[in-house]
Symmetry: C2
Subunit: 422 residues, 2 copies
C-alpha cells in the first residue's frame, strides 16, 4: 500500500521513488503511482480514519508519496513542519446572489501557513526530500512558492535557495527573505528562472529543488485540495471547480485527486466540470484551448497576476485534456477584470485574495454572465493566495474619509444612513 | 447554563445582557458572568463534546456569551461568518535551543481569517450584535481590528464603519478598505480615535461598536486562546504565557480562560505565569508594573509596534494584577529589539509575524537572557498578527543576490556550501 514507483505519463516506463522527474526514454514527465489495495474495501472505515486524522494534509497520508508519513497527531498544528491544508470552505451566498448563481463555495487556500496553496506542495516535497536524505531545499518561484519554501526551510531547520524573477512584488520578496533563506533574484521572467533552476539542479545534486527534481512528489500535494473539498462537502464531489492555471499542475492534480477517491468509492458524484482561469496577459493554455489545440505556444507574460505568469506551462496539455474531458473551459480575464474580481470577492465574502484569486473570481463571473453555469450547480471557487501579497492591485480601488478627532468633523464629512435617506 | 448577566468588575452591580459596557453606579467596566452548572460534573464528557465540535471558536460556545451559539458544524470552515480560531500551536525547538530554553511553543494566531487574533473577538461581538438586532458594525482600531471588522461585515452582509489613526501602515489600510467598509481615518493617534468612537457610540445607538458598547462580549472572544492552548496541550495548562499588552484586554482574558476551565476541572495545572510584553515607545503598563504601581500613566505612543500603540490602556490595572498574582512580569522592548524578534521567530520557526509578535518574541528573549525561565518550563509564545501587515519593519533586514539567468552568473555571485568550505 502507498506509493510504489514513478511512472512516465507518456510512455509508462517505471522508475524508483527517487529524486527524478523526467523519463530517460521519451522525456515525458514522471508521476507517482500507488497501490491503493485495501483503501476502498470498506470506504466508511477509510473515511472515519481520515476524519480522525490531524487537522492538516497528513490526514490524507495514505494517498501521498511518503515511505513513512509524518506520524498523525490529533493536535491542531503539528511539530512536523508548518501545518498545511485543512483550509476553510466557505459558503458564499452573497457572491452567488450577486452573480445570479445557485450555490457557490469558496475554498480559501490563503488560509495556509504562508497564505497560499504552495504550503501543501512544499510540505509533501520537503517531507519526501528528508526521507531521501536531502538537507537543502530550493525552488524556482513566481513568489508564493518562494514564501513557502523559505518558511519550510526555517521550520524544518533545512538550508534553502530560492530563485525568483527580480521584478516580483515587494511583499513576496520581504516575506521570503525574512526567513533567512538564500534569496536569488534573476534578471528575467519566471520562465528564465525555471530554465536556470533546471540547469542548476544538475550541478547541485544535493539540493532538493521542490519543483524540479522533486516535482513528482511536489505535484501530489495539490491533490489534497480535491480531498478536502470532497470531505468538507460530506464526501461528495461538487459539480464544478473554478481554478487558476499557471503551469497547469494544480488544475490537473485536483482532477486526479477526485478521480482517485471516486475510483476507490470514498466519495459520491463525478469528476467535476473543470473550469480553468488565466490572465489575458499570460494565457497560453486558454488560447490553445480556445483554438482547439492541445499544444500551448509559449508567450512572454505581461499581467498583474504574477503568480500565474508562466509563459511556457509544463502541464498545459494535460490541463486542456482535463477541461475537455469534463465539459469545462479555460478562460482568460483582463487585468481590470482581475482587480474587479478581487473587490467582488472581498465585498461579498470577507476573503481578500491576491491577483490569482481575482483571476478565478473574474472567470467565475464570466462563466455566470455567459449563462454557462446551471442554476442547480454546486460550484467551488479555488482561491490560492492572499491579497496582502499583491497590494499594487488594490491601491486606489476604494474611497475613504479623513477627519479630525471630533464629532463635528465626522458629521460634516462622513455620510451615514440617516443623512442619506433624509 | 451559559451567560446570565453583565457584572461590574469594580462594584459587582448586575445588568442585563444588552449593549452596555460601563457601570452606571461606579463607571467600572462590565464583564460577562456565566452559570457553568453542569459543565464540570463530568469533565471527560465536556472535553469530548468540545473535541467533537467544529474547527473554530464555536467549539467553545458553552463558554461564550451568546443566547444561541451558531449551530455547531463538523465542517472545516463555517457558513456562520469567517471561521476564527483553531490556529496552530507549533513546537518551536529551534527557537528554544537558540534561547537556551527547555520547551517553547508558538501559538500562531496570524493563522486566522484576517491574520490576527482580532478575528476571535470580532466573531463573538458580531454574533452577539446580530442577536441584539444590530445591522451595523463599527470599531476604533489600531489596524488588525479594522481588518477583522470590515471582513466580518462583508462575510455577514452587515454595514460597517471603521475608525483608524490616519498614519496607520498602508497594508492595514488596504486590507480594510477592500471589503467595502466605510473607512474613516482620524488625524490623531489611537487614543483620539477611541475617544471619538466613545462619543459616536452615544449618537449612533443602532451601531454595534465591537470594542465600545459591545466590549464585554468582544473581550470574551480572547478567552478562546486559553481554551485552545490548553486543549492543544492535552487539556493541561502551560507553565508560562508570553503575550503582548495593548489595552490589556487580551492578556487578562487569557488568564480568565485558564481560570474558568481550572475551576471546572476541565484542565490540569495552574494558571500559567503571565509575562506581558510592550514596546518601550508605548509602555504605560510595563512602566507602572516596574514601579510597583497599579495605575497606568497615559503616554503618547511612538513605536513601530502600532497595533500595540494604546497610550491609555483601559485594562492596564487588571493586567498588572494578573502578572503579580501569577509571579509574572511586564517588560518593554525597543524598536530594534522588535525587528530582531521578528527575524528570530521567522528564522527559527517559519512564522513571519508583525511588529506585535516581534515585541513578544523579543520579550521572551529578554526573560531568557535574564535567566528568569526555568529549564523545565513549558512556555507558550502568543503571536497575534502577521508580518505581511508591517512590512516597514523588515525592509533592509536581510541580504539577497541579483544575477543574470545563467549558471555562470550564479556561480560568480552566490556562495554555496561547497565553495565556502573549499
Amino acid at each position: 500500500m502507498g506509493a510504489t514507483h514513478l511512472k512516465c505519463r507518456e510512455c509508462a516506463t517505471e522508475y524508483a521513488l527517487e529524486a527524478s522527474f523526467v523519463c530517460n526514454r521519451c522525456f515525458g514527465p514522471l508521476e507517482v503511482a500507488y497501490d491503493h489495495t485495501g483503501l476502498g474495501d470498506d470506504p466508511a472505515a477509510t473515511r472515519r480514519r481520515i476524519q480522525a486524522g490531524p487537522q492538516n494534509i497528513w490526514r490524507y497520508a495514505d494517498f501521498l508519496p511518503l515511505a513513512a508519513p509524518p506520524a498523525p497527531s490529533q493536535r491542531v498544528g503539528s511539530i512536523l513542519g508548518l501545518p498545511a491544508g485543512c483550509t476553510p470552505l466557505l459558503k458564499a451566498d452573497r457572491l452567488a446572489e450577486r452573480l445570479g448563481l445557485g450555490e457557490v463555495w469558496v475554498k480559501n487556500d490563503a488560509h495556509n501557513p504562508t497564505h497560499s496553496f504552495k504550503d501543501r506542495v512544499v510540505a509533501v516535497a520537503a517531507a519526501r526530500a528528508r526521507e531521501l536524505g536531502f538537507d537543502t531545499l530550493a525552488c524556482a518561484s513566481t513568489g508564493n512558492l518562494a514564501n513557502a519554501v523559505a518558511a519550510a526551510g526555517a521550520a524544518l531547520g533545512m538550508d534553502s535557495y530560492v530563485f525568483i524573477p527580480s521584478n516580483l512584488e515587494e511583499q513576496k520578496i520581504l516575506a521570503t527573505g525574512i526567513y533567512g533563506t538564500n534569496l536569488v533574484k534573476i534578471r528575467g521572467n519566471y520562465d528564465d528562472v525555471n530554465r536556470l533552476c533546471l540547469e542548476l539542479s544538475g550541478e547541485h545534486e544535493s539540493w532538493a529543488f521542490v519543483n524540479v527534481n522533486m516535482r513528482p512528489y511536489y505535484a501530489e500535494g495539490s491533490k489534497t485540495l480535491a480531498y478536502e473539498i470532497s470531505e468538507q462537502l460530506g464526501f461528495r464531489t461538487p459539480d464544478r471547480i473554478v481554478s487558476p492555471i499557471a503551469s497547469g499542475s494544480l488544475f490537473t492534480k485536483i482532477g486526479k485527486g477526485f478521480r482517485e477517491w471516486l475510483d476507490l468509492g470514498l466519495i459520491e458524484g463525478d469528476v467535476p466540470i473543470m473550469s480553468g482561469a488565466q490572465a489575458t496577459g499570460c494565457s497560453p493554455v486558454a488560447t490553445a484551448f480556445g483554438e482547439g489545440r492541445n499544444v500551448c505556444k509559449p508567450v512572454k507574460p505581461d499581467t498583474i497576476a504574477k503568480s500565474l505568469a508562466i509563459g511556457n506551462p509544463a502541464d498545459g496539455p494535460y490541463a486542456i485534456d482535463l477541461a475537455n474531458q469534463t465539459g469545462g473551459t479555460i478562460d482568460a480575464v483582463t487585468d481590470d477584470e482581475i482587480r474587479e474580481g478581487i473587490k467582488l470577492l472581498a465585498e461579498t465574502t470577507g476573503v481578500f485574495t491576491e491577483t490569482a484569486g481575482g483571476v478565478t473570481t473574474a472567470t467565475l463571473k464570466k462563466l455566470a454572465d455567459r449563462g454557462e453555469i446551471a442554476k442547480d450547480e454546486r460550484v467551488v471557487l479555488v482561491i490560492t493566495g492572499d491579497g496582502l501579497k499583491t497590494l499594487d492591485a488594490v491601491r486606489g480601488s476604494f474611497e475613504s474619509y479623513e477627519i479630525d478627532a471630533d464629532v463635528a468633523s465626522f458629521n460634516t464629512t462622513v455620510p451615514t444612513p440617516t443623512e442619506v435617506t433624509a
